[in-house]
């Protein structure tokens, strides 16, 4: 009966969404099994929750399994569910010390891992790239967390694992079946400041062999928040104009298991982002300069995977179309991709190899009609866990490819992890990684306004080393546990032929910057303790990023050996949680350090943000619900992430999610 009611609720919610009805937004939901650390490091040492899927089978391991020597931030299904109304940009901003360049609330947001540019980090969904081929990068505010079940953030060079573009890192988003028999799903409604609305609905149906998942979301906001205009004397308070958005999307997945435990999967998503382009504060009262941008992204894929006793294999065919309209200009690109991979598994070895082929057809007024692109890649990965040194894991990989009119550097990697201590709840691992990575110039880089075949592929050599430590303790007398996980990583990454657009007479053209050096350290700690009836948690993530141009295009460039523009040296995120029964309170702290604009003398001041909130969970009508209330930027800090682009002051969000 309840499932029937739930289905009806879902049905009407879906119709409301499709009709453009308001919905809502916010974060932090709490679930029954919610004890997984907010952000795990390379390993999750204490298993607080277990999700058991039926039909367990040996399958191809993700490429991230070969990254034994580098750092992967692994966000579980539980923590992702806490931020379902957020974009990927919001999630990363709150949950890690990775820097994101933001042009406003809900506006363009671009990742910068270890000081690299957004095009140096690949973003993929179930292995399918989400970057727009013409731009070669992903706007993270266009990636809805609501659709995803898992997220891996691989920090550091990883082209051998994830392919072209993984110079700074890689974000791997995943969806997966639950195999929960019958109908299930949720309806999500959220409200927030600045007329922010978010609604989402998911319906799953599963029997023993087939599962369907349908998810929809719709969100809108006016974003008419106040700010202090730092281009006018007296810093007058103004309200932001032309900053609203109206976004929506649908995700459809079909899973079919066969008797031999092979799996056929069909994924489809379609997203639409109709967004006003937030003006700089100096243009806020100049409506003649206001503009909007419309993006539509389609992704579809069909994959098949199976396994025997030693061999696992999978194959995928996918199609992507990205459309963007800015004023009268339309940029569109379609991509067809085919890939296959196989894996051989033994007690000590995992060997994996595969290949892919892409055909990309762009369409833009500034491209020649003949522009088309073919790409092909082959990769091989190996992981070795010798029986005579059981606490040692070594992995190596290599990727090679070809791209139309471009040279593709060879991309090898070598990882090692040694765990000398693993007893009485303590675990200490030493790790190291070497990798050579590359990125082929984007289509815009090569073909916008001409054919720029002089451009070289960007390439990097990254070396990193670090230590992971974890401890898990249990007081058997009172049955309460404590746990600690931490990591410290040092890295050095030399990037050659970094592409930037520079003026060349009356036009701007891309050029290769000879050498940029990024060095730094990353620290993450997570502590959890059960205390009487309370469950307490604290986490801290800090990154130190020293990224400088070592060799410029001209020897006298004053910015040589200076920190790159818009790159903070110091970035810190911290959170504290306290839970008792059905209530959880949290405090999130965020510090972004000083950075410069393109002018090395133009220093943007650091900012410190504090968010607080509370989450409730309960049962209504036999089904679970969660209610989340958050106050963000409670100190009402006036700040700009990118100079002249106002960010919101104190604001609130309330979200209600009902499960069935």
């Amino acid at each position: 009966m309840y499932r029937g009611i739930s289905f009806i609720v879902f049905y009407f919610a879906s119709i409301a969404i499709l009709a453009g009805a308001p919905a809502s937004a916010q974060s932090l939901f709490i679930f029954k099994d919610e004890k997984v650390p907010i952000i795990d490091s390379v390993k999750t040492y204490n298993l607080d929750s277990v999700i058991i899927n039926s039909g367990i089978r040996r399958s191809i391991v993700p490429n991230s399994s070969f990254a034994v020597g580098s750092n992967i931030i692994r966000a579980s299904q539980e923590i992702l569910s806490q931020m379902k109304t957020n974009s990927l940009a919001d999630f990363i901003k709150e949950q890690s010390a990775i820097y994101i360049k933001e042009y406003g609330r809900g506006a363009g947001s671009y990742l910068s891992v270890r000081g690299t540019s957004s095009s140096h980090t690949t973003v993929a969904w179930n292995g399918m790239s989400l970057s727009v081929p013409t731009l070669g990068q992903t706007n993270l505010s266009h990636v809805p967390i609501y659709f995803f079940d898992k997220l891996d953030i691989h920090i550091g060079g990883s082209s051998a694992l994830y392919g072209d573009g993984s110079i700074g890192g890689s974000l791997q988003l995943k969806t997966a079946p639950t195999w929960e028999k019958g109908y299930s799903g949720d309806v999500l409604v959220s409200l927030g400041s600045y007329s922010t609305l978010y609604t989402g609905a998911t319906l799953r149906y599963s029997n023993n062999t087939t599962e369907s998942r349908t998810s929809l979301f719709y969100t809108s906001a006016k974003n008419n928040y106040s700010f202090l205009n730092n281009t006018k004397p007296g810093l007058p308070k103004e309200y932001l104009n032309n900053s609203g958005y109206l976004n929506g999307g649908v995700l459809q997945e079909l899973y079919r298991k066969f008797k031999d435990s092979s799996l056929l999967v069909f994924n489809l998503w379609y997203l639409s982002f109709d967004r006003e382009i937030q003006p700089s504060v100096s243009l806020n009262d100049r409506p003649e300069t206001f503009a909007s941008i419309l993006d539509r992204n389609l992704r579809a894929s069909l994959s098949y995977s199976g396994s025997s006793s030693l061999l696992s294999y999978s194959a995928r065919a996918s199609f992507a179309n990205d459309y963007e309209r800015y004023k009268e200009d339309v940029i569109e690109a379609s991509k067809v991709l085919g890939s296959a991979e196989a894996q051989l598994t033994s007690t000590q070895f995992i060997l994996k190899g595969g290949g892919s082929y892409e055909y990309i057809a762009p369409s833009a007024k500034s491209f020649a009609h003949s522009v088309q692109e073919n790409r092909g890649y082959l990769f091989f990965l190996a992981r070795y866990n010798p029986y005579f040194i059981s606490n040692l894991v070594v992995s190596a990989g290599a990727r090679a490819g070809w791209v139309t009119n471009s040279e593709v550097p060879f991309m090898p990697s070598l990882d090692i992890k040694f765990t000398p201590i693993r007893n009485q709840g303590h675990s200490l691992s030493l790790k190291a990684s070497l990798s050579r990575n590359s990125k082929v110039p984007s289509l815009n880089d090569r073909y916008w306004g001409g054919t720029h075949t002089y451009l070289k592929s960007e390439k990097s050599f990254t070396a990193e080393a670090g230590v992971n430590y974890s401890w898990f303790g249990m007081n058997n007398h009172i049955g309460q546990s404590s746990s600690f996980t931490g990591y410290l990583t040092f890295y050095r990454s030399e990037v050659n032929n970094w592409i930037r657009w520079l003026p060349a007479g009356q036009v701007w053209r891309p050029q290769n910057i000879p050498e940029v050096l990024s060095q730094g350290a990353e620290l993450g700690v997570n502590y959890k303790k059960e205390f009487v009836e309370w469950k307490l948690g604290a986490s801290l993530n800090y990154s130190y990023t020293n990224v400088r141009m070592i060799r410029g295009l001209w020897s006298e460039d004053p910015s040589i050996d200076e920190q790159l523009a818009f790159q903070p040296k110091h970035s810190l995120r911290s959170s504290f949680t306290a839970s008792k029964d059905a209530i959880t309170g949290f405090i999130n702290l965020s510090y972004t350090g000083e950075r410069t604009t393109l002018d090395i003398y133009d220093i943007l001041k650091p900012y410190f943000l504090v968010d607080v909130g509370v989450a409730l969970k309960g049962v209504l009508g036999g089904n679970r619900y969660s209610l989340n209330i958050a106050l963000k930027n409670i100190t009402n800090e006036h700040y700009e992430n990118i100079k002249f682009y106002a960010m919101p002051g104190r604001n609130w969000q309330v979200a209600l999610r009902y499960f069935f």
Binding site: P233, V507, R509, L553, W554, L598, D602, K643
Partner: protein, 359 residues
């Protein structure tokens, strides 16, 4: 001799820093502080323009003086500027379009910015009563070369004291530099040099000057020691114009920057300086030179070379030539060169260093 030199300087100042040389002000003597307002255009999409203040006496530079003096940023692209006889500096901004009025010595804001009547302002000339500003306007057509043209360019006329808009006058396509000679306002446009009668704000057209031997657009104007005007036509070089007869009297072939087309004359009006940057097949700036043209003979010589220059100015106090190895994605390196071509000093300025206002 000294007085004559100063009077000539006043006239030259009209040309090189766009201060008007009109009958009303020719008897004024403007003492020089040996200071230079250095305009850093900024990156268009970043609003990263800034103002630097260079002291010729000791070779020191202060960057971002506008922000330091006023506690706020310009928040725009600065295209050009002009110093008025009262030492107020007009900073011509694009995106957003405005003219900031600041005290040259302190960079402090004097009054609210001018915004009325502006649409992509380009350059200004100021007398003791009026401000004349060229504007591209927003309407454009796409030329056969793919570049935009602005066919409804106009000159906006303002009262210097009240900063109120008096009138707007259409002048043609891509209006750029302008120069006031007597009561005639000369305006560089794509069609040629348009001449307007500025008497009593009449602004009627007196003529259009163009040599049949010269193609392309006129960009900027200066005046020489014989009170002859020179207009830059990047397709050809520079063209001498008799401001009274409105006739072209000489054409000198010399490399002129095709994008900016800016030229400058020295204190005595004996030389005109142009600059030009050569880009290789990969669109990289390969070499750049400052060229000196003898106004009397029309002979051309290379004064100084580098990689990527964008703008040139000549100090009336020292005769030194100012330019910069320019960058629009980082700071530029301003270079001061002696009249004989030796590097005198250099200083790190802002993003896109392009103009030098001497006062």
């Amino acid at each position: 001799m000294k007085t004559r030199g100063f009077k000539l300087f006043v006239c030259l100042l009209v040309a090189i820093s766009l201060v008007a040389c009109s009958k009303e002000i020719t008897d004024q003597v403007i003492p020089m502080d040996q200071k230079v307002i250095v305009i850093n255009q900024g990156n268009f999409t970043e609003h990263s323009a800034s103002i630097s203040l260079y002291d010729e006496a000791n070779g020191s530079i202060q960057n971002r003086v506008y922000e330091q003096a006023n506690g706020v940023a310009i928040g725009a692209t600065v295209i050009s500027g002009a110093v008025a006889p009262n030492k107020q500096a007009l900073i011509i901004c694009n995106y957003p379009d405005k003219i900031e009025v600041v005290d040259s010595r302190t960079a402090k804001i004097v009054t609210d910015p001018i915004t009325e009547g502006l649409a992509s302002p380009r350059a200004a000339v100021v007398t003791d009563r009026r401000i004349y500003v060229t504007n591209w306007d927003y309407d454009y057509i796409v030329g056969s070369d793919g570049f935009w043209r602005y066919p409804n360019s106009y000159v906006a006329v303002y009262d210097l004291q009240t900063k109120q808009l008096i009138k707007k006058v259409l002048v043609g396509t891509d209006a750029e530099g302008l120069l006031l000679y007597g009561s005639s306002l000369f305006v560089a446009t794509r069609e040629g040099v348009k001449v307007l009668d500025a008497t009593a704000d009449n602004m009627s057209t007196k003529g259009l000057i163009r040599s049949a031997d010269v193609s392309g657009a006129a960009k900027h104007l200066v005046i020489d020691n014989n009170l002859m005007l020179w207009a830059s036509f990047p397709d050809k070089g520079i063209v001498q114009i008799n401001p009274n007869s409105l006739a072209v009297t000489k054409v000198v072939e010399v490399p002129v920057d095709g994008m900016d087309g800016y030229i400058s004359s020295d204190f005595k009006g004996e030389k005109i300086y142009t600059y030009h940057t050569v880009f290789n097949a990969s669109y990289m700036a390969e070499s750049s030179s400052i060229y000196a043209v003898e106004t009397s003979s029309g002979s051309v010589s290379t004064l100084f070379s580098g990689t990527y220059f964008y703008g040139v100015g000549v100090s009336p106090s020292t005769d030194n030539i100012f330019t910069a190895e320019v960058s629009f994605t980082s700071n530029s390196l301003m270079k001061v060169v002696s009249p004989t071509g030796e590097l005198v000093s250099s200083a790190v300025a802002g993003v896109g260093t392009c103009r030098y206002l001497f006062f």
